[in-house]
């Protein structure tokens, strides 16, 4: 809806800004953590609302911040249901394979529903400039994207993963709304296959390097008896190598998520507006790797700082390229909002925003 009183103004490209700081989030985090522990987890729903409100209102696009409206009671209800299901699953695994099998089926049946509800909850409770986001995906599509299509991997030995991933991301994006405006991403299945192939090549190269180092270490101890090797441990070199390998392994997940962010957002649009994501893989990896070391060395106290540091990099890498004014988004009218958002619970911290 164009405001006729003034001409549509061109808006220059807008980078997202993130004003949260590690020290401020540390203070929020530690108080949240204490209250969550002494209330046996009940407060964690309120903690989530406080955390999200802080992060959302610290995130700025075109001079205006975001807002989080999540209701802690709804989050608590969802968490109780999720805890019961996940807890039963974990206990079943400890006791008997038969129960485990039953619980795996139950999990498979409910997880797509959890994800669907969580996406609705998260978007419905996010807003910018007074307009809420929304998720319009159907439950049927949730089961196709999160349960049926992943089953393809049973017969393709994982080769369908990029395809499954692309379909899931496309579903999330194309069913997301900001007011009445639609999100979309044009990232194709081919794009995803290239991303996976490139990432696998890097992983294999890293694996070969570590394999060679490990073989050299083995060769250096080959002359000694097994008992002697066991007594002396594997040597400092091998210890450091093992630690580096573990940290590398831990860094890969977040790094990959960031690369998917680039891929999806570089092809994303909201109505006629476009987006760019400028995450540099090497820079991202450095942040994740140093974060992990700092978290381990501080026994977890660096955690909130690490989180803010990572979020800042990922958020500030995002850029919106508006086509025309950003004043013209229109909220969805009454009834439709209720149908897709209110009364929905949040079951998982399903990270959609990036």
């Amino acid at each position: 809806m164009i405001d006729l009183d003034k001409p549509a103004t061109a808006t220059p490209p807008q980078f997202l800004k993130f004003h949260a700081t590690g020290s401020e989030y540390f203070r929020i985090w530690i108080v949240n953590l204490l209250l969550s522990i002494i209330t046996l987890g009940i407060y964690s729903a309120w903690a989530k609302v406080r955390r999200n409100q802080y992060f959302y209102s610290s995130t700025e696009l075109a001079g205006s911040s975001f807002a989080y409206h999540g209701n802690p009671i709804a989050i608590l209800k969802g968490r109780i249901v999720a805890a019961v299901v996940v807890g039963a699953y974990a206990l079943a695994g400890q006791f008997s394979p038969v129960f485990l099998g039953i619980m795996m089926l139950v999990m498979a049946a409910v997880v797509p529903w959890f994800i669907w509800r969580s996406l609705q909850f998260q978007l419905h409770n996010s807003a910018w400039r007074g307009i809420r986001f929304r998720f319009d995906g159907t439950l049927r599509a949730a089961y196709i994207n999160c349960l049926l299509r992943p089953l393809l991997n049973l017969v393709t030995f994982g080769l369908a993963t990029p395809y499954i991933h692309q379909r899931l991301k496309a579903w999330q994006f194309n069913e997301s709304r900001f007011g009445q405006a639609r999100f979309a991403t044009r990232a194709t299945v081919g794009n995803f296959y290239w991303l996976y192939a490139g990432f696998m090549a890097v992983l294999i190269a890293a694996g070969v390097v570590f394999g060679v180092l490990f073989a050299m270490q083995m060769a250096s101890v080959a002359g000694r008896s097994p008992a002697e090797v066991a007594m002396r441990g594997m040597g400092v070199g091998a210890m450091l190598g093992g630690a580096a390998f573990y940290l590398l392994f831990l860094s890969m997940g977040p790094l990959f998520v960031a690369l998917v962010q680039n891929l999806v957002w570089n092809h994303a649009s909201l109505a006629q507006h476009q987006f760019r994501s400028h995450v540099i893989p090497a820079r991202m990896f450095l942040i994740i790797f140093t974060n992990l070391i700092a978290v381990i060395c501080t026994l977890g106290l660096f955690l909130p700082f690490a989180q803010v540091r990572l979020m800042r990099y990922r958020i500030e890498a995002l850029q919106m390229i508006p086509d025309g004014s950003l004043d013209d988004f229109v909220a969805q009218t009454g009834a439709d909002v209720g149908a897709s958002g209110e009364g929905v619970s949040d079951f998982m911290d399903f990270d959609f925003s990036l």
Partner: protein
């Protein structure tokens, strides 16, 4: 900055009406318990119907109307004075979060609570759960584990039936060190995981041929069986299950935000102590049982030495999940 005549200042803000994303530059004033928005948009509302977002140094501050419209505050200093003038107070949680003294106190209390829970509360709770859960329930839940293992890592025993019966009768004749010992079934199997013995929730004590062959000493075999009976008698399976799930849940609460993979490391490290404690408890039980039946616990110490030697040759085995052998042997000998 323009000031209102009243004590409460006028606050520069941006108003979003909740219907479009259009930005309206406005000022906010409060008089007689009613907030007045004026400028590019006009609106008034009683203070009771407004929600003020929590204070944070780096986050934008908002005032939300009941229909979803909101004000984003530009002049934060003036807004703070306005809030003070209207008698608005931050919640206790926000005040704690904004003061370093409160934060350090929260940190100290968190550390103390977590340490107390880890050292005392969780072991006590696990014992309580084990006591409350009937043995029959545990056994019912444990059905199917042996069949599963039979398919995966265990093969039928090659020990002669007479030998099996002899060991079975010898152990059955022993008296447990404490009353109300649970019933057990001794199961012989051959395994691809080397010399091993373990107790299952179903009450089965699995003994591998390789272990019997390795020990070559029936009294040492009795020691190993007594150790496994100790696990059953002290309800270690249920207690360990409670402990490890609680540790996993708590580390997830603390560390889960950053990486669910990272939580694996502290979970394993923290759970190790409980695992060790359970082994020591079972060792003590076995020593008491051997003594009660007139067997020198040194037989058990010797069995650990043999197992340690065997694990040097065959990679991971029975001792992998257990405390250091030297410590356990020293403990057994000290118990004399």
């Amino acid at each position: 900055m323009n000031r209102d005549d009243s004590a409460a200042p006028a606050v520069a803000a941006r108003y979003f009406d909740g219907r479009t994303s259009r930005l309206h530059r406005v000022t906010l004033t409060v008089a007689d318990g009613v907030a007045q928005v004026s400028g590019e948009a006009e609106r008034s509302a009683p203070l009771a119907g407004l929600r003020v977002s929590e204070r944070a140094r780096h986050a934008a501050r908002k005032v939300t109307f009941d229909d979803g419209a909101w004000l984003e505050i530009d002049d934060r200093a003036a807004f703070d004075r306005l809030l003070a003038a209207t008698g608005h107070r931050d919640s206790h949680v926000v005040r704690t979060q904004q003061s370093w003294r409160g934060v350090l106190l929260a940190l100290a209390v968190t550390v103390v609570v977590l340490a107390a829970a880890y050292l005392y509360l969780l072991p006590a709770a696990a014992s309580w759960v084990a006591a409350a859960l009937p043995v029959e329930a545990e056994r019912q839940l444990g059905q199917g584990v042996l069949e599963f293992l039979d398919k995966k890592i265990l093969a039928p025993t090659r020990l002669p039936v007479a030998r099996q019966q002899q060991l079975q009768q010898q152990f059955a004749a022993m008296i447990a060190p404490e009353a109300d010992a649970p019933t057990w079934t001794l199961v012989f199997r051959s395994s691809c995981i080397g010399p091993n013995a373990f107790a299952l929730p179903s009450g089965d004590i699995v003994m591998t041929d390789q272990l019997v062959d390795l020990l070559k000493d029936d009294q040492a075999v009795m020691g190993v069986l007594a150790h496994e009976l100790g696990h059953l008698h002290r309800r270690h399976l249920t207690r360990r299950m409670v402990q490890s799930s609680a540790v996993a849940a708590i580390t997830w609460v603390v560390f889960g935000d950053i990486s669910s993979l990272l939580t694996a490391l502290p979970t394993v490290a923290l759970d190790m102590k409980y695992s060790r404690d359970a082994e020591y408890e079972a060792d003590d039980y076995a020593v008491a049982m051997l003594r009660r039946n007139g067997i020198n616990p040194e037989h058990m110490a010797q069995s650990f030495i043999k197992l340690a030697k065997a694990s040097g040759d065959h990679g991971p085995s029975y001792l992998a999940s257990h405390p250091a052998t030297d410590e356990r042997i020293a403990r057994i000998r000290a118990a004399r």
